[in-house]
């Protein structure tokens, strides 16, 4: 258990607080006395010495608070000493002739409430009351000669009556102070316990979380290494199959045998498809392993660049690309670029042959950015809308357009992973014979480092 956290709320701190409050309280009190002394006739010399003693005691106690703060009778002791010193101070100022000054005895009572339990508060109150009564007795009998400039005189009966009322008043105040102090202490204790319990729980949770994060990281590293190796080891032989088949396909012997040529073409097509799949997977791992800080960027130049690279292929198939309004987006540039590239490649692959049309458009919405890639291809039956975003998820051949060449089944899975990592959504709007529109919606950060440049608070 860490002691420092406890000490911040513990009895030592309370003791120090109480004594420092005493210093400032007494200092203020003496200052007020000094200010009013011309009219009330206080002789400040002796009063000043007693007040100085009280201040010194409080300063010393504040310094030594860690050594006595936990003492169980601290409240009563503090209260008693101060009740007696303040009674002496009252005497120095004129005794019961200035009995209205007995209010300062409320200070030790309240301080006792800060330091100790209810019984000690009443103890201090009654010591104070008794001290005032003894002062009245001493002054009436002349044991203690009255001090100060006599503005008015008090008869012994009046002095005892005032002492009695004062005593009762002290107890009345003690009742309030103690119940208030008790309440304060109880809530402080509860708070302490709660803080301690929560700190312990939090520390345990943190340790557990850290361990889990480490394990997860290690598992991810291992998985990445494994996938990398597997992909690499599969890619190599497939590569060789393609190279050898290509060379065979070029040989004059095969050229003369249409049946062999056809079979070889089939091998090349299959191996080529597998190669594409591995290549896409490979890129996917590379992309997922890379990390760049997200930032705002214009989507337009990214789309333009990608369109330039696919335009020849599309035009060769008799298709066109149209680029509409495009918003500024927030995220990892390379990965979102990959999203656009994959959606465009997908659209191009499935656009209507001979008259293909791919449209890229987007818009800024209040809290989001939206963009879409549409094609006029065969369309996708609704029952496949979820599946196409899965790894290797494709529309089965019998439900695809007869001339559809199909993809590797990786592209859209990559799109979904990237968009989900950006806390966005991707979905398709399509039906057989109606073409397809792939929508992407990304959230816009509203604060902090992600604030969009050039957009004021009004935006």
């Amino acid at each position: 258990m860490a002691r420092t956290e406890h000490d911040a709320l513990g009895p030592e701190a309370a003791a120090r607080r109480a004594t420092l409050l005493g210093v400032s309280g007494i200092a203020t009190y003496v200052f007020c006395l000094w200010l009013t002394s011309p009219w009330l006739g206080f002789s400040m010399g002796e009063a000043g010495r007693i007040a100085g003693l009280i201040v010194a005691i409080n300063v010393a106690l504040a310094v030594l608070a860690p050594r006595w703060g936990r003492w169980r009778f601290a409240g009563a002791a503090y209260g008693t000493v101060h009740a007696l010193l303040l009674t002496l101070l009252l005497h120095a100022l004129g005794g019961l002739r200035v009995a209205f000054l007995v209010f300062v005895h409320l200070f030790p009572i309240f301080h006792t409430a800060m330091l100790g339990p209810t019984a000690q508060v009443f103890f201090t109150a009654n010591v104070s009351g008794l001290a005032i009564l003894l002062l009245a007795l001493a002054e009436s009998t002349g044991v203690l000669p009255t001090r100060g400039t006599l503005l008015w005189s008090v008869s012994p009966a009046q002095a005892f009556a005032m002492a009695g009322v004062t005593w009762a008043g002290f107890n009345f105040f003690a009742l309030y102070a103690s119940s208030y102090g008790e309440e304060l202490r109880r809530s402080a204790r509860t708070l302490q316990d709660e803080v301690a319990a929560r700190t312990t729980a939090l520390r345990a949770a943190n340790t557990e979380l850290e361990a889990k994060a480490h394990a997860l990281e290690a598992a991810q590293d291992e998985l990445r290494t494994l996938l990398y190796a597997v992909t690499h080891d599969i890619k190599n032989p497939v590569n060789s199959i393609l190279l050898i088949a290509d060379l065979l396909r070029e040989s004059p012997d095969v050229e003369r045998e249409p049946a062999v040529r056809e079979e070889l073409d089939r091998i090349i097509r299959l191996a080529g498809g597998t190669e594409d799949m591995i290549r896409d997977l490979f890129e996917f791992f590379q992309l997922m392993a890379s990390k760049e800080p997200p930032d705002w960027f214009e989507l337009r130049p990214v789309v333009d660049e990608i369109v330039e690279t696919i335009r020849p292929q599309l035009e060769a198939r008799g298709g066109v690309v149209e680029i509409g309004e495009l918003p500024r987006v927030f995220g990892e540039r390379r990965k979102l670029g990959r999203v656009v590239a994959n959606l465009l490649a997908n659209a191009m692959q499935h656009a209507a042959p001979g008259r293909g049309r791919v449209v890229v458009s987007g818009a800024r919405e209040p809290q989001r950015v939206h963009f879409a890639v549409a094609d006029n291809g065969h369309g996708i039956a609704p029952r496949y809308h979820a599946g196409i975003f899965e790894l290797f998820g494709r529309v089965p051949r019998e439900d695809a357009a007869s001339d559809d060449r199909g993809g590797s089944g990786v592209g859209l899975a990559v799109v979904r992973r990237i968009i989900e990592a950006h806390h966005g959504q991707v979905w398709v709007e399509s039906d057989v014979g109606r073409g397809s529109v792939f929508h992407v919606s990304l959230p816009v950060p509203s604060h902090g480092a992600g604030r969009e440049p050039g957009r004021g608070l009004a935006a």
Partner: protein
């Protein structure tokens, strides 16, 4: 003198394809192959580092070899004065950008993702040959 080309790759099939493409590209070309970095160094540097190195027209080097990666082999090779300017084409199956940086920093003449089609591989080899080794 007939041109000599060294091809280093751990795949026998790739070595075979590369040999056929290179031999067909320039008549009289002889192709030496090595499956490990150590074998390649043994062929190039020989027994002692005394300047009597074998210097082929150029080297086709796979990035990942069983015993060492291309940058390590390049560093050992470039340490020989006789081989300091030998053109080396590094082929990579993965094409990681950091692999490319490492290979070029170690002295590769070019870094290319290994083509999987014969036509593309033929173009890459021809292009490299005419650019760096003629």
């Amino acid at each position: 003198m007939n041109p000599l080309v060294l091809v280093v790759d751990d795949s026998v099939e790739f070595l075979d394809v590369a040999r056929r493409l290179l031999e067909a590209a320039r008549p009289g070309t002889s192709v030496h192959t090595a499956q490990t970095g150590a074998a390649a160094l043994a062929f190039l540097v020989g027994e002692a580092s005394n300047g009597t190195c074998t210097r082929p027209r150029f080297v086709v080097l796979d990035f990942r070899l069983p015993d060492m990666n291309a940058p390590e082999l390049l560093a050992r090779l470039r340490a020989e004065p006789a081989l300091a300017t030998l053109p080396v084409l590094v082929l990579s199956q993965a094409g990681w950008p950091e692999d490319a940086r490492a290979a070029l920093a170690a002295g590769a003449s070019a870094f290319v993702v290994k083509p999987s089609r014969a036509g593309a591989l033929r173009r890459v080899l021809d292009d490299f040959w005419s650019r760096h080794a003629d």
